[in-house]
C-alpha cells in the first residue's frame, strides 16, 4: 500500500512537468497579453508595449519558461499581474472557500443521494423510484446559475432565511487563521462566526450539489440494482436476514465501488472551482478567480492555479484508489 502511494506520488512529477510545458506554450500563444486588460481604453500601443516590456513578455518563450521553472523549484509561483499578490497567497486565501463549498455540496449529494439511490433500487418501479430518476434528470438539466438565482430569490430575498452573498457577515469581525471559516470559528471558539459561515454555505451548497446529487442517485441505483440481482442477496433473503443486515453487510459494500469512483471524480471536479455558483453567490473561491484570470490573461495565476488543481485532482483520485481496498478487501492496490 505504502509503495503504491509513493509510486503514484512520484508519477505526479513528470505529469506536472509535461502539463506545465503544454500550459505555458498554449497560454503564451493566445493573442494579446495582460497589458490590454490592465490599461483598458486608456492604453495606447506605446503604453501597452511598455508594460509588455516591463513584464518581460517580449523575451522568448523559452527564457520565460526557464524563469518559471526556476521559481517553481523554489516553490514560488510568481505574482498575479492583476492583483499584485503572490499566486500562492491568492490560492491559499481562496481555496479554503472552494473546499468548504465542495464539502458542503458533496455532503448533501452523498447524504441524500446514496440513501435515495438505494431506496429507488430497492423499491424499483415505485413512485419513489420514478421520482428519483425523473428528479435526477431535472437536476442535471437545470443550469446551475439559474437554480442559484431561484434559490436566492425564494429563500434569501423573499423569505430572508439565508444570506444572498459571501462567506460570512462582515460585521461579525471573525478571526481568520486558516481561511476555512467554519474551522476558524471552532478554533477560536467564535461559535457565532462558525455558525454564520455554515449558514452562508447552505444555499450555494444546495445549488452546487444539484448535479453531483443527480449523478450519485443514478449510479447508486444502477449499482445497487446490479448487486440486488446477485445470488448471494437472494440467499441472504432466503436465510431470513433483516433488511438492515442485508443492506449493510451485502448490498451496499458491494455496490459502493462505482459510487466511490464517481464521488472521487465529482469531488475533484468541484474542487477545480465552481465558477457559476461562486459568481452568483459572490463566494470567494478559486473558480471565479480563474475565470477573471482567463479574461485578463494573468499568466502566473493561470499557470499556478492549474498546476495546483492538477495536483489536487491527482491526490483525490489517489484517495479514491486507496479507498477501493478499504471498501473491498479483495482489491489489493499494488
Amino acid at each position: 500500500m505504502f509503495r503504491f502511494i509513493v509510486r503514484r506520488l512520484l508519477q505526479l512529477i513528470p505529469t506536472l512537468f509535461g502539463l506545465s510545458i503544454l500550459l505555458f506554450i498554449w497560454l503564451h500563444r493566445l493573442p494579446g497579453g495582460p497589458e490590454t486588460a490592465l490599461l483598458g481604453e486608456r492604453g495606447t500601443p506605446e503604453s501597452r508595449a511598455a508594460i509588455r516590456e516591463s513584464l518581460g513578455l517580449n523575451e522568448s518563450v523559452l527564457i520565460q519558461y526557464g524563469r518559471f521553472v526556476k521559481r517553481l523549484v523554489q516553490l514560488d509561483l510568481g505574482t498575479s499581474i492583476s492583483t499584485k499578490r503572490s499566486v500562492t497567497t491568492e490560492f491559499l486565501q481562496r481555496f479554503p472557500g472552494t473546499v468548504e463549498l465542495t464539502i458542503t455540496a458533496m455532503v448533501i449529494a452523498i447524504g441524500v443521494g446514496i440513501p435515495l439511490g438505494y431506496l429507488a433500487a430497492r423499491r424499483r418501479g415505485s413512485f419513489l423510484d420514478q421520482f428519483s430518476v425523473g428528479g435526477s434528470l431535472l437536476g442535471t438539466c437545470i443550469p446551475i446559475f439559474f437554480l442559484a438565482y431561484v434559490l436566492k430569490a425564494i429563500f434569501a430575498e423573499n423569505l430572508g432565511w439565508f444570506p444572498t452573498i459571501g462567506r460570512q457577515d462582515a460585521s461579525i469581525e471573525a478571526t481568520h487563521i486558516t481561511n476555512f471559516f467554519v474551522l476558524d470559528g471552532i478554533l477560536t471558539r467564535e461559535w457565532d462566526a462558525a455558525a454564520d459561515a455554515i449558514w452562508h454555505l447552505v444555499l450555494p451548497g444546495v445549488a452546487l450539489a444539484s448535479i453531483p446529487l443527480a449523478i450519485i442517485v443514478r449510479i447508486t441505483r444502477a449499482s445497487v440494482l446490479e448487486v440486488l440481482g446477485e445470488d448471494f442477496v437472494r440467499t441472504a433473503e432466503a436465510k431470513g436476514l433483516t433488511e438492515r443486515t442485508i443492506r449493510r453487510r451485502h448490498v451496499l459494500r458491494n455496490a459502493m465501488l462505482p459510487v466511490a469512483t464517481s464521488i472521487g471524480l465529482l469531488t475533484g471536479l468541484l474542487l477545480s472551482g465552481a465558477v457559476l455558483t461562486e459568481t452568483v453567490f459572490a463566494f470567494s473561491g478559486i473558480g471565479a478567480f480563474i475565470k477573471d484570470a482567463i479574461s485578463n490573461l494573468d499568466y502566473p495565476v493561470l499557470m499556478g492555479f492549474i498546476m495546483i488543481i492538477a495536483v489536487v485532482f491527482a491526490l483525490v483520485n489517489l484517495l479514491v484508489d486507496v479507498s477501493y481496498s478499504l471498501i473491498d478487501p479483495r482489491v489489493r492496490v499494488r
Binding site: E90, E157, T164, E173, I186, T188, A282
Partner: protein, 555 residues
C-alpha cells in the same frame, strides 16, 4: 463492528472538533457583534481593489477606497469637476507660470498622528519623482507617467522628460511646486488620487517604495497592501481578501467634518444580478454602475438612484488609413448625417443620456456650442456619398464583446442600431465583434486594419485637454490622420498658462475638430450608482469621487 464504522467516524470528528476548539486566539475585541448596524454601510463593488497605495493603482476600485482614506492638495468640487481647495487652501503661479505656491491647511494630522505640513508634501512628490527600478514600470506608476511623463533619472530611454521639477518647503504651511513647463495639467491633475499625500513616517516605516522582485514578478511592499496612511475622514481597518471585504472606519481625529458612518465596508460582488439581489435583500446598501434597464425599477422600489453628471464620451472612430474613401471628409460627413443618434440615446442608453455634439461633455470649460452640428439627415448623407463617388461603400465596423463601459453599457445593441442607420444610407457594413481584451483594443488602436469602431473615454480630471488632447493632440493609429496645424494648436493650448486663454483655444479646437470630423461623437451617458432606501447625504460625482463621509442612515 462494521456497523459502528460510520458512527465511529462521526464520533471521531466530533471529538476532534472539541479538541481543537479554542486552540487559537480570537482577534476580536468583545464589544459584541450585536452593535447597531445602522452606522455601517456595506457597498457592493464589481471587482476587488488591487493596492491600497493610490500612487501605484490605476483601477477604479482601488481608487474608490483611496478617495475615502487619502486627500490631495486640490480636489474636485463635490458633485462637479472644478478645482477646489483640498489639503491646500490656495495656490498661485508665478510670472513664468511654472512655479506654483501652495498655501496648506494647518492643524491636519495623518492617521498615525504625525503632522501634515509642507515637508510631508515634498517627501511625497520626491518619492514619486525619484522613483527607481520597478517603480518606474508603466504598470506600477501609470498615472504619474500619464501626467508628468518621466522621473528624475529615467532608466528607460523611451520615457519623456519629467514635467515635475522640484518641491521646495517655504515654511510649515507653504510649499513651492516647480514644473519644467507651463501645462494645462497643473493644478487640475493634482486632484487625481495618485497625488494623494501619505504620511512620511508610514512611508518609511513600511518601505512604501520598495517595489521589488523581477519585471514579470513584481512584489508590492506591505505599505501598499496593509498600511495605507492618509489624512482622510476614514482610516484603513482591515482587508479580508479571502472574503472579498475591505473595511475602513471613521477617523475621529479628522480636521474637517467627521464621518457620520462608523464603518464603511466594500464587498466585491462581480455579478451584477447578484449585486441587485444583495441590495434588495439588504445584504449591501449600495452599488455602482447600475444597468440602464434597472434604473427605473430600482427607483420605483424606493432605492436612491444617483445619476452622475455625464463626464464621458462615446464616439464612432473613423480610420482614415483604413478604407481609402474615409480620407474624404465628405464621406465622414455622410456617416455623421446618417446616424440617428437621438434615437440611440432614447432607446439604448440610460435615462439622462444625451447626444454628444463634440468630443467633450458640456460641463467642461472649452465646450463650444457653435460647432458644426450633424443632425440626422438621411437624404443629405446619401447625397454626400454620391458626391464623393462612394455610393457603394463597404466598411468594417468593429465592436467589443464581454464588456460594459460607463459610456457604452451595451456595445452590441449600440452597434446594431448604428449599423442599421449606415445601411439605410447605402453603406454595406461588415460587423466584426471582438473580445474587449485583448483583441478589440489591440485591433482598433494599433495598425490600420479597421475602418469604424466604437470606443470612448471617461474624464480623469476637470480639464478639456484630458478629453480632446487624449484623442487628437498627436498622430494615432486609431484615427489614421496627420494634421500638423491641429497638433500645433494643441501644443499651444497645453502650454498656455492663463486659463481663460486656454479655454478659448479649446473652443477653437472643438470647432476645428468638428469640421475635420476624424470621427463622430455619439453620446454622453451618465453612469448611476444606487444606495439603500434610507441612505442619504451622498452626492454623485462625475469623477466617481463620491464622499461617503457625509453618508448617513436617516431614521
Amino acid at each position: 463492528m462494521r456497523a459502528a464504522r460510520p458512527k465511529a467516524a462521526i464520533a471521531v470528528i466530533a471529538v476532534a472538533a472539541l479538541a481543537v476548539a479554542g486552540c487559537a486566539e480570537s482577534d476580536r475585541d468583545n464589544e459584541g457583534s450585536g452593535q447597531s448596524t445602522k452606522d455601517t454601510l456595506v457597498f457592493g463593488t464589481a471587482g476587488d481593489p488591487k493596492v491600497l497605495d493610490p500612487s501605484l493603482a490605476s483601477d477604479g476600485e482601488s481608487l474608490r477606497v483611496a478617495r475615502q482614506i487619502f486627500e490631495t492638495l486640490v480636489r474636485p468640487e463635490e458633485g462637479g469637476t472644478k478645482v477646489t481647495p483640498g489639503l491646500a487652501e490656495s495656490w498661485t503661479p508665478d510670472a513664468t507660470g511654472t512655479v506654483w505656491t501652495f498655501k496648506l491647511r494647518s492643524g491636519v494630522k495623518f492617521h498615525d498622528g504625525t503632522d501634515f505640513n509642507a515637508e510631508a508634501v515634498c517627501v511625497n512628490f520626491n518619492r514619486w519623482y525619484n522613483a527607481t527600478g520597478l517603480m518606474q514600470s508603466a504598470d506600477v506608476t501609470a498615472y504619474w507617467q500619464d501626467v508628468m511623463g518621466g522621473f528624475a533619472k529615467n532608466e528607460n530611454p523611451d520615457l519623456p522628460a519629467s514635467l515635475f521639477k522640484s518641491c521646495t518647503v517655504k515654511d510649515a504651511t507653504t510649499v513651492d511646486l516647480a514644473f519644467t513647463a507651463v501645462s494645462s495639467k497643473v493644478p487640475a491633475a493634482l486632484m487625481l488620487p495618485s497625488f494623494s499625500i501619505h504620511s512620511p513616517k508610514a512611508l518609511q516605516e513600511f518601505d512604501a517604495s520598495n517595489v521589488s522582485g523581477t519585471a514579470d514578478d513584481i512584489k508590492y511592499p506591505s505599505y501598499a497592501l496593509e498600511h495605507p496612511t492618509g489624512t482622510g475622514p476614514f482610516k484603513f481597518k482591515s482587508w479580508n481578501v479571502a472574503d472579498k471585504t475591505l473595511t475602513i472606519e471613521r477617523n475621529d481625529a479628522y480636521w474637517g467634518d467627521k464621518a457620520k458612518l462608523k464603518t464603511l465596508v466594500f464587498r466585491t460582488i462581480s455579478d451584477e444580478n447578484a449585486r441587485k439581489q444583495a441590495l434588495r435583500s439588504g445584504d449591501i446598501q449600495g452599488y455602482d454602475l447600475v444597468g440602464p434597464a434597472d434604473v427605473e425599477p430600482l427607483k420605483g422600489e424606493g432605492f436612491n438612484v444617483l445619476t452622475r453628471p455625464a463626464f464621458n464620451i462615446l464616439y464612432l472612430a473613423i480610420n482614415q488609413k483604413g478604407n481609402p474613401k474615409l480620407a474624404d471628409v465628405k464621406v465622414r460627413q455622410a456617416i455623421a448625417y446618417a446616424l440617428n443618434r437621438q434615437a440611440l440615446v432614447d432607446s439604448k442608453l440610460p435615462p439622462g443620456a444625451e447626444v454628444a455634439q463634440e468630443f467633450m461633455p458640456s460641463t467642461v470649460e472649452g465646450w463650444n456650442d457653435q460647432v458644426t452640428k450633424y443632425d440626422y439627415n438621411l437624404e443629405k448623407a446619401k447625397q454626400l456619398l454620391a458626391e464623393a463617388g462612394a455610393s457603394n461603400l463597404t466598411l468594417r465596423f468593429h465592436y467589443p464583446t464581454e464588456v460594459t463601459r460607463p459610456y457604452m453599457p451595451n456595445p452590441k445593441d449600440i452597434y446594431e442600431l448604428l449599423s442599421a442607420d449606415l445601411k439605410a444610407a447605402g453603406i454595406t457594413v461588415q460587423g466584426i465583434p471582438l473580445k474587449w481584451t485583448p483583441d478589440y483594443l489591440n485591433a482598433t488602436t494599433s495598425g490600420n486594419k479597421h475602418d469604424l469602431h466604437l470606443l470612448g473615454w471617461t474624464g480623469d480630471y476637470g480639464d478639456g485637454y484630458n478629453f480632446i488632447g487624449t484623442f487628437f493632440s498627436r498622430p494615432k493609429d486609431e484615427w489614421g490622420f496627420n494634421n500638423k496645424a491641429l497638433f500645433d494648436k494643441f501644443a499651444q493650448a497645453d502650454s498656455t498658462a492663463d486659463a481663460t486663454a486656454r479655454y478659448a483655444l479649446y473652443k477653437e479646437l472643438n470647432a476645428d475638430i468638428m469640421n475635420l470630423l476624424p470621427g463622430v461623437p455619439i453620446s454622453h451617458s451618465p453612469p448611476a450608482l444606487v444606495l439603500g432606501k434610507d441612505v442619504t447625504g451622498v452626492k454623485a460625482s462625475p469623477l466617481t469621487d463620491e464622499r461617503y463621509a457625509t453618508a448617513e442612515f436617516k431614521s
